[in-house]
């Protein structure tokens, strides 16, 4: 018995220490899961003669926490707007050498030169999504509910009809943003009075909501348990594909609220202590090519800031105003800014009060 125990222990320990020692160049990409098409990765590996080592995170906050605690070894990250804001202000990124990014000219100027990164010193847009309403078209028609306004999420007169069949995102920034937009304010409004109004609005609507959920709501929407969601445009797009594949008798449609919504742009950035910034820049330029960039859009229905990619994207996706907003719609979209400590604390307390039943 002892021999067997020692043997299995030795095996396990060896397995641990037997880290693969490959001589090939490695490019460490820390990205969202399923946020790059497998063909694109393969093509890049052939192009750069390196191995792409992908690890994943599923929220910006997790990424920020891990970096703040000191994790390193990543060559590239793909954070969203407000996280990029925080990383730049926290001096965690290295400036980009634009001479190595000739394809940067492909990006729609609308998405360049943001207030938090003028001149794109540190970041380059990768893909985007909007946070909107997703709904079951059959049910909404049946109940006679509007699908182009945040009112359907916040007003009890509409909510009564979908009580228990609606979820909202479990994200304080997103939900407050939607509430603020509905009340007519900017998503980046930091006036405490306006926040209190938003909180009151949320509390009034809360009894009708099934849950605050950012992870399992999409599959509930797809199978028809939930009829209306506050969610991300990519997710709703994907949900519809799944619903059609399962031959369900309804479609899942994205509804862009007329009051406006949050635009989330994911950017490629390079951490200050990246081991291989050269590979990272190569990857960036590679992804700025229209064809490579289009593959993700075709895969998951994400928005694409790359003008050169347009000719490679499937027409039905191009026509979708939630994914490719028209000029009027785009005017009403806003990107989220990062908040100061005091503001984060205030919002956190309000959020805790909301979720504890106050």
């Amino acid at each position: 018995m002892k021999k067997l125990l020692w043997l299995s222990a030795a095996f396990a320990v060896c397995a641990l220490f037997a880290a693969p020692v490959f001589a090939k160049d490695e490019f460490h990409l820390y990205n969202w899961n399923n946020y790059i098409a497998p063909e694109t990765v393969k093509r890049f590996e052939d192009f750069c003669k390196c191995t792409v080592v992908q690890t994943y995170y599923s929220s910006n906050e997790e990424l920020l926490a891990k970096l703040a605690a000191g994790a390193k070894g990543y060559d590239m990250l793909v954070p969203t707007t407000n996280a990029v804001d925080a990383l730049i202000k926290g001096k965690r990124l290295q400036p980009l050498d634009h001479s190595q990014l000739p394809n940067l000219k492909n990006i729609d100027p609308r998405y360049l030169n943001t207030p938090f990164d003028p001149g794109n010193k540190y970041s380059v847009p990768y893909a985007m999504s909007t946070t909107i309403i997703g709904y079951n078209d059959v049910k909404m028609k049946e109940l006679g509910l509007p699908t182009d306004t945040w009112a359907v999420i916040f007003e009890p007169k509409y909510l009564e009809k979908v009580k228990g069949r609606i979820t909202v995102l479990d994200d304080e920034n997103e939900l407050f943003a939607a509430a603020l937009k509905y009340l007519g304010y900017s998503v980046n409004d930091v006036d405490e009075k306006h926040w209190k109004e938003a909180q009151a609005l949320i509390n009034k609507a809360k009894p009708y909501w099934a849950a605050f959920n950012a992870s399992s709501y999409i599959k509930e929407l797809t199978v028809g348990n939930i009829w209306l969601v506050h969610g991300y445009s990519n997710d709703i797009f994907q949900a519809n594909l799944d619903a059609q594949a399962a031959k369900r008798p309804f479609h899942l449609v994205q509804g862009m609220p007329k009051e406006g919504a949050v635009l989330a742009v994911d950017n490629m950035v390079i951490p200050k202590d990246a081991p291989r910034p050269d590979l990272a820049l190569k990857f960036m330029n590679f992804m700025l090519e229209g064809k490579n960039s289009s593959e993700l859009t075709n895969l998951i229905g994400s928005g694409n800031p790359n003008l050169d990619a347009v000719k490679y994207i499937k027409p039905e996706i191009l026509k979708n105003p939630a994914i490719f907003p028209t000029k009027e719609v785009a005017a009403r979209l806003e990107q989220l800014k990062d908040l100061t400590v005091a503001q984060r604390r205030l919002r956190s307390r309000m959020w805790t009060e909301i979720k504890a039943g106050h």
């Binding site: 906050e61 920020l64 925080a86 099934a210 992870s215 400590v341 604390r345 956190s348 307390r349």
Partner: protein, 306 residues
């Protein structure tokens, strides 16, 4: 062996036994945790993490975060709610686990290992898909919800959602904690001498008396071990309310997670964590003290029945 060498080897034995775990836990638990305890006295970094410890040559330590915790009642409220959930979880786990552990302990040796493995086997699958399986079971169109709501409708009651509710959270809490109650109980019940029970039966004790006056008292160490291993982790859980809780089922674990992730307020997160840990240890200590005082030791129970 002379008494001096006996004493020396006893002391050596003591160091060999307590030393390694204490050393390991000191290095890989106490020291890292002390770093975060220190963090509870610091200020959050403007963009995340912590502000520098030494600002302009001065040590930046304060009691701000502690003051916030003690001045805002809502955190204590949520904490009490979590204690309730954890207590309920422990109680239901005990009720479900006891027969399981007893059955396994009483089974012939050939089957014991297999039965025990069967208890733990489901928990080697991934947590997420097990919870998703519960979402399927509790879904509004599934058999269970339809039956329950059908009965309620018959009584003229409004239909209740099984999913996205406190019920769902509790069921899943019990589910994920069950093996941690079964295993300690089994480890204890396994050594119970059947001869005691046979003797009691011969003396006229019925099944209930045999259980309540012999088996249960003897199994108390197992009950306490299992309860500790269920109650304490259940206090800090956040994933289950996140995935299938209702709009007001947030627990203290969710608030703590929020401080570290969304709010990026590590000092306050540390304060909440420290309070949680201290409270958990205090409750465990208190329960152990109550047990020792009121219920006596198992050996006294044995004397009574003999």
């Amino acid at each position: 062996m002379s008494s001096a060498t006996a004493r020396r080897s006893a002391r050596l034995g003591r160091w060999l036994v307590s030393g390694p775990p204490v050393l390991y836990l000191f290095v890989f638990f106490a020291v890292p945790t002390l770093i975060m305890v220190l963090a509870s006295f610091r200020t959050p970094g403007e963009f995340g993490g912590l502000a520098p410890l030494v600002e302009d040559g001065k040590l930046d330590l304060n009691l701000e975060s502690y003051a916030r915790f003690f001045s805002e009642a809502i955190y204590a409220e949520i904490f009490l709610k979590s204690v309730w959930y954890a207590l309920a979880t422990t109680f239901f786990c005990l009720a479900l686990a006891y027969p399981l552990a007893a059955l396994i302990a009483r089974s012939p040796k050939r089957y014991r290992d297999l039965l025990l493995l069967l208890v733990i086997l489901p928990f080697w699958s991934n947590f997420l898909i097990r919870i998703y399986a519960w979402m399927i079971i509790l879904g509004p169109n599934a058999a269970l919800a339809r039956t329950v709501n059908g009965i309620l409708r018959w009584f003229g009651h409004e239909p209740v959602p099984l999913l996205f509710s406190s019920f769902a959270v509790l069921v899943c809490l019990v589910y994920v904690s069950l093996p941690f109650m079964v295993l300690p109980l089994y480890a204890n019940l396994e050594k119970h001498d059947q001869a005691l029970l046979d003797a009691a039966q011969d003396l006229g004790a019925n099944a209930w008396q045999r259980f309540w006056r012999i088996t249960f008292p003897l199994s108390l160490p197992g009950v306490f071990a299992g309860s500790a291993l269920v109650f304490i982790p259940a206090l800090g859980i956040f994933a289950i309310p996140d995935i299938l809780g209702g709009p007001e089922d947030s627990l203290i674990g969710n608030v703590i997670k929020q401080q570290f992730l969304e709010t990026r307020d590590w000092p306050f997160g540390s304060v909440l964590s420290i309070v949680l840990t201290v409270a958990a240890l205090a409750i465990a200590g208190f329960a152990a003290w109550v047990a020792r005082r009121n219920l006596g030791t198992p050996s006294s129970a044995r004397k009574v029945s003999a």
